[in-house]
Structure formats: C-alpha cells, structure tokens
C-alpha cells in the first residue's frame, strides 16, 4: 500500500492504495465518485477523462499513486459551489451536445482543457482536439458546435 494525498473536486483526500490501482477505480470504487464512467479497456474512448492540475487525463491510464499531491477535477467538481454550471456544460445543453450522456463527462472535461489551451479554436482544431474521446450518439456535430459556443462565451466573459 502507498499513501497518497490528493485534492479531488476541492476536497483533500488521504488514502492508502495498492500501487496497481487505477485512478478511475480509486475515484469510482473507493471515493464513490461514479460520475466518471468507464467505456473501454484500451484507453481509446476517453469516457473516464478527468482534469489533473487542469490538464485532461484518461483516468484509466494513470495510477492513483501518480496523482499524489495533485488536484483532480471530475465532472462532479466542475460545477462551482453555488451550483452554476461551467460554460462548457451550459453549451452542451444549449447545443444538444449529448444524447445518452455516457461520453459526456469525458467530453466536457476534454473540452475544458482544449479551451484552456486554445480559447479560439477553429472547427478543425476542435475536432482534432477531441480525437481521443469517442461518442456514439451525436455524430459529434453538436459537440463541436457546443465547444465553439462555449469558447465564444468564455472569450466574451474574460475580455
């Protein structure tokens, strides 16, 4: 067992974990943060994407011990304390960027990271930027639209 200390969705957590434990299993099974789903076993689908120190990471591809001392944000921590949604969440709803919702947590967090790197992406940049996240329902059309909409909203809000 290895001791880790991690801030997850704003709460500081201490745990003794097996070195082989994946971050996603720690989140889901030990912390009960089941808002982060698992969609594959080959790191292809991106459903389990979370933010680690603000950068998107497939939580099935890192070990819990690797996030020791870091800050993890899941979809359950993206909404700020007063309950207001992140602009990306709002844009996904407004643009119908989700159907079954299984890819959505990962897609939203990957988009948050994408926009932090590139606040004004072209359609092509959005498509390339979300290449690691699969969706089977939307055909991506409205996801791309949602990310562009959120980008415009966030640029408007900060300028």
């Amino acid at each position: 067992m290895t001791h880790i200390g991690v801030t997850v969705d704003g709460t500081h957590r201490h745990a003794d974990v097996e070195p082989r434990l994946l971050l996603v299993h720690w989140l889901r099974e030990d912390l009960g943060l089941v808002g982060t789903p698992i969609g594959c076993d080959t790191s292809n689908c991106g459903a389990c994407t979370v933010l680690v120190d603000g950068r998107s990471v497939k939580s099935c591809s890192v070990l819990a011990v690797q996030v020791d001392g870091k800050e993890v944000t899941t979809i359950q921590g993206l909404t700020v304390e007063d309950g207001e949604w992140h602009p990306v969440q709002k844009a996904f709803k407004e643009c119908h960027g989700l159907q079954c919702g299984y890819c959505t947590p990962g897609m939203v967090l990957a988009s948050v990271d994408l926009l932090s790197e590139n606040p004004d992406p072209t359609e092509e940049e959005i498509r390339q930027g979300l290449e690691g996240n699969l969706c089977r329902c939307t055909g991506y059309h409205n996801i791309v639209k949602a990310v562009a909409t959120a980008a415009a909203e966030m640029r408007g809000g900060t300028s």
Binding site: K93, C100, Y102, L130, G139, Y140, I143
Partner: protein, 792 residues
C-alpha cells in the same frame, strides 16, 4: 395527394425545448447500472472460449476455487434448467432453432462462448480467477464463411442439424421471371454488407438482488427492453414473472445491442436467487466485442430488370444472412425486417425475395440500428446507381423516372405495404439546393477532364424505410411471438403535478423531454410540471420498450390518447364544479371554462385536487384523475428523405474524404426538432462509419481480429465533418400526431450515399463497386482490380 406543410403555431409540440435529461447527465449524477453498489454484492466474471469451435473435454476449477475471495465457480452442468432458446422469432415453419445454453456444457461454438462463471466478493478477484480455470479443449474446425458453410461436407456448427442452413425464407411478389423476359437490361451485382459491432458507449452491466420484503428479485440492466426482458427471464428461468422486477436505469446508448436477453442477465438473476445476495456483472469493452451481438453481415445478390428508357420492371434479391453460432432474440428475423423494403421508393412490377440464414462459428448477429432496412436500402440504392450507369442515365434522373410521385400517395408498393404519405420530389429539391448539386457535377467533370488524381464523386440516397414496430397482427402473421403495442398512463397528482408513465425505454433519445411536450399540449400543464416515468416494470408495468424507431411512432399515440382521456374525465368534474353541462365546457391551455361565461372557470390542477378529495364529484364517478391507453398501431411508419454526399477519392492512394454531406429528412410532424436533428446526426455517423471505417474481421480459424477499440475503428470527431441537415414535413396520416419515426433513418440512408459517391468518383476507371469499409486498402484494390479487368 399529400401536402407538404410547415408547422407555425406556438404549441409545445414543434418547439426545440432543451432537454430535461441533461441536468443529471452533465453534472455526473447519472444512474448507470455499473454505479449501483449494494451491500454484500457478489461479483460475477465469465470465462469465454478462446477457440471458435471445440469440444470441452474437462474443466478444472480447483485452482480458481482456491483463490482467496472466490466463492463459487459454475459450469454448464450446474444449470441444466437454463437451456433452450431465447429466440422469439422462428421465421419459417421449418427453421432449425439452435439449442442455446446459458453456459456451454459439451461444445463451444464461437470465440467468446461462455464456459464458466466465477462468483467472488471482489471484481478484480473474480477476473483474476478466470485465469486459473483450466479447460481442456478438443479443437474442431471453424466455419467462418457463409458460402463455405453451405457446401456439402462443411464443418457443422450444430451437428444434430446435419446442415448449417438455418432457414430459407421466400417472398415472391409479382412474376419476376416474366418481367425479366421483357427487360432490355438486367443489372446484376453482389454487395457485401459487412459485419458490424454496435459499441454503445456504455458497456452492458447487470445487477440482480433479492430485495427481502417478498420473493421479488430486482434486476437492473443496461437494457433497451426491461418489459420484454422480464417476460423472457421468467420463461427461461422458471422464476415467476411476478417475482421479477426489471429496471433499466440510465442507459448509455443501445443501437439494438441492448435489445436482447443475454446470458449474463439470466445467470445474475438465477445466482442472486440461489445465493440470496446481490450479484453484479459489467462487461469490459473487449468482452463487448465478442459477447454482445453483432449486426448486419449479409451477402446480397441483386438483380434489377430495366428497360432501355430507364423504367424499373422488377428486382430479384437473394441473400445469405449470417446468424452466427446461435439464434438470439430476433436473429433470424433481423434480415427479414428489410424484406418489404427492397423496392425502396420505386415502382416496380415484381420483387422476388429469398433469404437463407446460415450458421457460422461466430458471435450471433441481431438487431443493429436499422436492422434489415439498412441492408435493403443499401441494395436498392446501390443497384439503381449501377442500373443508371449501365443505361448511361444521370442517377437522379433515373430515380425520378421510377419513384412514387407525391400525387400517388397512399401508395401500395410491390411488397404489399401501403406508404401513407411522402414527397420525394420536395425532399430531393431541397437537398439539391443545399448541396449545390449542379456545381459539384461541373467540378466533377472538370476534374475528370484534367485527370486530377483526386476525383470527385456524388453519392445519392433517396430512401424510405419501414419503422414504428408494429401492428400486432402483422407481427403475428410474420411469426413473431409478441405484440407491437405501446402503453401510457398519465396521472394528475393531488398537487397538480403530472406523472407520465410510458412503456418506452429511452437510452439517449430524450423521451423525458419530448413526451412532456406532447402531454403539455394535450393536458395544458407546463412541461416542467410533468415527470416522465420509464424503464421500470415496477413503476411502469406495461410496455414494449424502445427499438425500431417505435417510441414516438407507437408510444406517442398512447400518450395522446391517455392525455385526451384524462382531459375528458376532468371535464366531467369541472362541469360538475361549475354547475354546467359538460358539453358547454371548453378546455384551453389547462383551463376549463363555461362557454359564453369565461369568468366561470377552473384549472386542471384544481380538478385534480377535487378528484383526490372526492368531496364533490359527480354521482357515481370514481375518485382520482388519470388517463390510460394501450395503442396498437394501424400501420408501420414510413419516413423518407434524400441524402447527398460529395466524396473525394485519391486514385493513387485510395484515400477517401467525405467533403460534404446533406441530409434532408421527412419524418412528418416533429415533436422537438432539436432532438430530431440529433437523431439524424447520430444515425449519419453510424451509417457513414459502416461505409468508411467499421468492419468486424475474423481469421479462418474464427478468431475475431477486431477484438478491441484499438482494432475496431469507431470514428472520432476528427474522422467526420459537420453535416448539413434540413427537413421537409409531410405529416403521416396513420399517426394521430402526424409524426414518423426518425431514430434509424440516418443510419439507413447514409451508407449507400457514401459508397455511391466513392463508386461515382471511380467509375471512369471501370470501378463498379467498392467493398465496405471504403478504407484506402479496399479502394485501392478496387481500382487495381478494375484496371486489371476485374469487377471490383
């Protein structure tokens, strides 16, 4: 004649309401089955055959049982009662039905067949134990190819049958041989509709738990069909139906893959009962690739008999349909769901349909988005392009010459279906306008003349489909053992809130939003006051679930009627309260008022409270306010549309690029155009993926070569363009709301549009077909073969 109209009134129906579902889905508060963690849960893992075909000589479970945390290891001998068939569609009188055990006893018949299950108190321990089970197999030859399977002396999937032929279904309509004799040209092609793996993003998952207060066992499953599943689980396990409650919580996509009764559902239920504890199983994605049913997989030999002026006389369809190793819920019926649709939108005098179902040592096939109709649409839309080319006609002109015109509806087509309404001219005109058809044809001509290595092709798909399953009597005549009705109960609660209980079971389609919109218009209550209850045989006891684009097409009818019945009962109470004759009571937007005296009025919410207190109801009236309806549809639903694809094909590398895609669909009246458009987008992506990216591949030994998401290419955002979509609106006359199904249209229409575009680009090189997916390899080979004088 049918009229194409646009809705302009301000009702909830037709409004692009943002979805009620999204709040929980966007904040991580979703109730996936795999999120359920009950105290004392036991975890199940399945050992799957690594061989496609083998005798089981011996299974040694001792090492697995010795692993700490492992409680039980079960083999097929432990479940003698769980054998038989889970197939509900024996399509012919002499069909050979497979014996389908929950766990194999003597023989495995595909790579992935279940050999044993482990029960442990931890998920990882259960998975680890699988490696410790020692199985001695005696290898038997695999049979992978359908034509090989039908040859005398082929290895037999089910030795007792003496053949791999499952059934032969025939439907001769008109006299094809007679019309063929009159034809100037008979165009013949062989199309391959390759095997696909559905891959909803949520893997399958099941939890079964005895709930303690009675003999009831609750089974949560990531399923599309909680109601049908409950009946089948009872029939298969012998557990009384009234002791089984099936709940489909939030379900992450289905596309037909979750329209099934799976072994893991059966085993979890039986083991939860046997062990008295919750039992849980969740598939891994790689497991999904072999353990969840596949789709499509047909060899289509198609003939089209035409005159030289471009008139279609008749069509001959001869299919080989791969069943895989066993018949699952509607395996044999799936190809026949397309049987009536091979003539598409075209008039013809004869259609000669034959389908041979074939057993192979592969994962069973079953419904996948469109289920039979994509295959039919592919065949007809591909063959009309080929016929136009052979006749030297422009492919859209050839279609125009043969399609049913809008004046001719209702039109009874060659297979006997009556299309209620449609306007193919209107949808096509709009698609051509959005596409810039003439400009792209001009560019194509310029590129051909300049010898550009990147050629341009225009792919057309003018399609209709048959959905909204289905009139129960028709299903009975087709030997399907269940009905096609749907149920709705709408309850006005004492506080004025509305509970809408539906038998449909959404998994991404937005029923909570759309059903609220329908009910809001009918009972005059705001959408936010309506709660849609679904996917739980305990709370929504009657239903036939969600598949075949049936939820609105059938379920929508039940919502309307249930709402109207509620309004009528409330009218009697309102009249009593207002001391007026019911005939003098008007109902508008949730308010009952006396004609000519609008001051005398009450609301439906106030009436609901009166119905609850029952202090002052009309004599003899029963308290409570609700409306209930179970509707058997009059007919199938026939949405249609025109899709156009601009395909760029690099003739040197075989690389295909989808440059522009236009989809104009007509699904009649739209309840929520935003959701309709989303359904079209998703369908397009899946249909385009069949044409360009996906395909399950096996080696000759029956090993699945595309056994993970790393090997099976699902398109990402970077692999698809944005789509140009629009709708024409030709209301249905068989649906009281005027709507038609839309869940599968995109997947049905788009596959032939893409391939027609690729072939159109390459036709000057002599190419007449390209194998799907149109990967650089398949396209390059088609070019090489054509130049060497071959057919593709």
């Amino acid at each position: 004649m049918t009229e194409t109209v646009m809705r302009t009134d301000g009702a909830a129906i037709g409004r692009a309401d943002r979805r009620k579902e999204d709040a929980r889905l966007l904040t991580g508060r979703t109730n996936w089955t795999d999120n359920i963690q009950l105290p004392g849960t036991l975890h199940m893992a399945t050992l799957r055959s690594s061989m496609a075909h083998a005798k089981i000589l011996r299974i040694d479970t001792s090492a697995a049982l010795a692993l700490e945390g492992v409680l039980h290891v079960y083999t097929g001998r432990d479940f003698p009662e769980l054998a038989g068939s889970t197939c509900v569609w024996p399509v012919t009188d002499d069909i050979r039905m497979s014996h389908y055990p929950a766990i194999c006893t003597d023989e495995v018949k595909y790579a992935g067949d279940v050999v044993a299950v482990v029960i442990a108190n931890d998920r990882s321990v259960a998975a680890d134990a699988l490696d410790l089970i020692d199985v001695d197999y005696e290898h038997l030859p695999a049979v992978v190819d359908m034509e090989e399977a039908l040859k005398p002396g082929a290895p037999l999937v089910h030795a007792d049958m003496g053949t791999n032929e499952c059934y032969v279904a025939r439907m001769p309509c008109g006299d094809y041989e007679a019309v063929k004799a009159r034809a100037d040209v008979v165009v013949k092609r062989r199309f391959i509709n390759q095997r696909l793996i559905p891959n909803p993003m949520e893997p399958r998952s099941v939890v079964a738990a005895p709930m303690g207060m009675s003999d009831e066992i609750t089974l949560w499953s990531a399923t599309q069909i909680p109601h049908v599943l409950r009946v089948l689980l009872a029939l298969l396990t012998g557990i009384p139906e009234n002791n089984i409650r099936v709940v489909a919580p939030d379900v992450g996509g289905g596309f037909g893959a979750k329209l099934q009764i799976y072994r893991e559902e059966v085993l979890a239920l039986v083991l939860a009962k046997r062990l008295g504890k919750p039992v849980k199983w969740t598939e891994t994605r790689s497991e999904h690739m072999v353990a969840t049913h596949h789709g499509r997989d047909q060899i289509q030999d198609i003939e089209l008999a035409v005159t030289k002026d471009g008139t279609i006389l008749g069509m001959k369809v001869d299919l080989l349909a791969d069943m895989g190793a066993y018949l699952q819920i509607i395996t044999p019926g799936t190809p026949l769901l397309g049987m009536f649709m091979y003539s598409g939108i075209y008039k013809m005098e004869a259609l000669d349909f034959t389908c041979t179902g074939v057993y192979t040592t592969k994962t069973p096939t079953d419904a996948y988005r469109g289920a039979g109709r994509p295959e039919a649409t592919y065949a007809i839309e591909r063959i009309v392009d080929e016929a136009a080319a052979e006749l030297g006609m422009e492919p859209m002109e050839f279609r125009r010459k043969n399609w049913i015109t809008h004046e001719e509806f209702p039109y009874t087509q060659i297979a006997g279906l009556t299309y209620d309404t449609g306007n193919y001219e209107a949808a096509t005109a709009r698609a051509i306008e959005l596409f810039g058809y003439d400009e792209l044809r001009a560019e194509q001509k310029a590129r051909r003349e300049s010898g550009d290595p990147v050629q341009l092709g225009i792919g057309i798909s003018t399609f209709t489909e048959m959905c909204g399953l289905a009139p129960s009597r028709t299903l009975g005549a087709l030997k399907y053992v269940a009905g096609g009705w749907e149920h709705c109960t709408i309850r006005a609660l004492p506080t004025g809130k509305i509970e809408l209980v539906t038998g449909t079971s959404p998994h991404g389609q937005g029923h909570e939003t759309a059903w609220s919109q329908i009910a809001s218009d009918i009972i005059g209550v705001p959408v936010e006051d309506i709660e849609v209850v679904h996917g739980d045989t305990g709370r929504a006891p009657y239903g036939m679930d969600t598949y075949g684009s049936r939820s609105l097409a059938v379920g929508g009818q039940a919502i309307k009627l249930a709402g109207e019945r509620l309004v009528e009962k409330a009218r009697l109470i309102a009249a009593h309260q207002l001391e007026a004759n019911p005939d003098d009571i008007e109902f508008t937007a949730g308010t009952y008022s006396v004609k000519g005296d609008p001051e005398k009025s009450t609301t439906i919410q106030a009436v609901a409270f009166e119905a609850f207190t029952a202090h002052n109801l009309p004599d003899g009236m029963e308290p409570t306010l609700s409306g209930e309806s179970t509707v058997d549809p009059l007919d199938f639903s026939y949405p249609h549309g025109t899709h156009l694809a601009a395909m760029e094909v690099d003739t040197e590398t075989g690389k295909v690029t989808l440059r522009k895609y236009v989809a104009v669909d007509d699904c009649g009246v739209q309840i929520n155009p935003m959701i309709v458009e989303g359904q079209v987008h998703g369908g397009l992506a899946q249909g385009i993926a069949q044409a360009m990216y996906e395909g399950a591949l096996y080696d000759n030994d029956g090993n699945l070569l595309t056994g993970s998401m790393g090997d099976y290419l699902l398109p990402s955002a970077a692999d698809l363009p944005s789509f140009v979509t629009d709708r024409t609106v030709t209301p249905s006359t068989t649906h009281p709301l005027g709507t038609k199904g839309i869940g599968e249209a995109g997947a049905i229409a788009s596959t032939p549009a893409i391939i027609n575009g690729v072939v159109d680009a390459l036709r000057p090189l002599g190419v007449t077909d390209v194998f799907m997916p149109a990967s650089p390899q398949n396209v390059w080979r088609a070019i090489q073969n054509a130049q060497a004088g071959g057919a593709r």
